[in-house]
């Protein structure tokens, strides 16, 4: 990844960007997000299979100083996140330089978001058999079993909201859980509160989730909450032919409709 360091140095030294969001060596053998603001720091940048955090989350946190040009090291999920965020008018193309990393670890310098969009659409976007298997396992359960399964999982949740914080698409300044007039989502982390929270999270990500699984990775309790959004993503793709993170312009699955959307349950 010398090329990455080289590029980072160039970008910083000729002031094309002021901050690079990438990865560095963390503690106890982990990689972690890093914020590089001078060329001499660029040597700490790494990129390997441990670099899995969806860095797009930092692009909407408004923590980075305004009017700063930011470069972000973008794995495939980050690229998709950027496209979704851009389609939701959360990112300004003029302030974000995207340094893509291909699946075979090559650097792709995107000149604009449309460029990313093109790249994404050249890739294999289907769900993996492993992903499908996880969903199938739950689908195969009876209704009661599913209820029990999720009740058990949700009962462990203590609502640290790591899932929310780690998700690039969860950028609301006031989350539905903090909306209290009325209190739509029960605040405490009892079963009902957790149930309502996770449904809300999944529904709010329905058609917007790009499938990076960062939510369940962030979860300290290892709740398989990524399955909720994954299930919806699969369903939405099947039903409406729509996948998040692929188009800058297409309205997202739930803000549009087709008159002939096929359902079987409305009487």
């Amino acid at each position: 990844m010398d090329k990455l360091k080289q590029l980072a140095k160039e970008l910083l030294s000729n002031n094309q960007v002021q901050i690079i969001v990438g990865y560095e060596e963390g503690t106890v053998g982990k990689a972690r997000p890093a914020f590089i603001s001078s060329p001499d720091q660029a040597d700490t940048l790494i990129y390997d299979e441990r670099c899995i955090h969806n860095l797009a989350v930092y692009l909407t946190q408004h923590k980075l100083p305004g009017n700063t040009k930011i470069a972000v090291i973008a794995s495939f999920p980050v690229m998709k996140s950027i496209i979704t965020l851009a389609s939701e008018k959360q990112l300004d193309e003029n302030f974000i330089k995207v340094i893509g990393i291909s699946k075979d670890n090559n650097i792709i310098e995107f000149k604009d978001f449309a460029d990313i969009e093109r790249y994404i659409n050249q890739q294999d976007l289907s769900f993996t058999p492993e992903e499908q298997a996880l969903i199938d396992k739950i689908d195969a359960m009876s209704m009661e079993e599913r209820w029990e399964y999720w009740q058990n999982e949700f009962s462990r949740c203590f609502k640290c909201y790591a899932c929310r914080s780690a998700c690039p698409m969860c950028y609301c300044t006031l989350c539905i859980t903090d909306f209290n007039q009325p209190q739509w989502v029960s605040v405490p982390s009892h079963k009902l509160g957790n149930f309502e929270w996770h449904i809300n999270r999944a529904m709010h990500l329905a058609g917007r989730c790009i499938g990076c699984d960062e939510c369940s990775r962030a979860c300290p309790l290892d709740l398989p909450i990524n399955l909720l959004t994954k299930k919806l993503s699969m369903d939405i793709q099947k039903q409406f032919g729509y996948s998040a993170g692929q188009s800058l312009t297409e309205p997202y699955a739930l803000s549009t409709y087709k008159p002939d959307d096929k359902e079987t349950f409305i009487r």
């Binding site: 739950i138 689908d139 359960m141 209704m143 009661e144 079993e145 599913r146 209820w147 029990e148 399964y149 999720w150 009740q151 739509w184 989502v185 029960s186 405490p188 009892h190 079963k191 009902l192 509160g193 149930f195 309502e196 449904i199 809300n200 999944a202 529904m203 329905a206 058609g207 909720l228 299930k231 919806l232 369903d235 939405i236 039903q239 409406f240 699955a253 739930l254 803000s255 549009t256 409709y257 087709k258 008159p259 959307d261 359902e263 349950f265 409305i266 009487r267």
Partner: protein, 148 residues
Amino acid sequence: MNEFEPKVVAFVCNWCTYAGADLTGTSRIKYAPNVKIIRFPCTGRIDFMLILKAFAKGADGIIISGCHPNDCHYTSGNFHAKRRWMVFRTMLDFLGVDVNRITFSWVSAAEGARWAEIVNTTVDGIKKLGPYDNYRKMVNEETEVNNG
């Protein structure tokens, strides 16, 4: 023990189903009194959280009803609603929520008899399913939390 009388909430749109239910009244067609209606401007206004709230507050069943496709007073509210329900219903089902307790239907302003039929079949169906104990158990857990 008396026969179980389910509590059913109906979220309906103002222009079609509410008017349809008015027609049921005008036509004096009798139906089960378990269903109580909340009026909305359009099915597009019906937030999925309302469905969850109704269950959390003790509903055994829910009816959601609006204009037939292409009849929406606002052109497309019901189409949007339909998509959301498709997704939401998938979600509920995946979580093990009993989706048979939610009747989604289109009832026009002219379908007074149909409204009565929707209500009656829904109430009958939910009577067979019994009280929604699973959900209530989850709700009640909140008040028993860690207090022994």
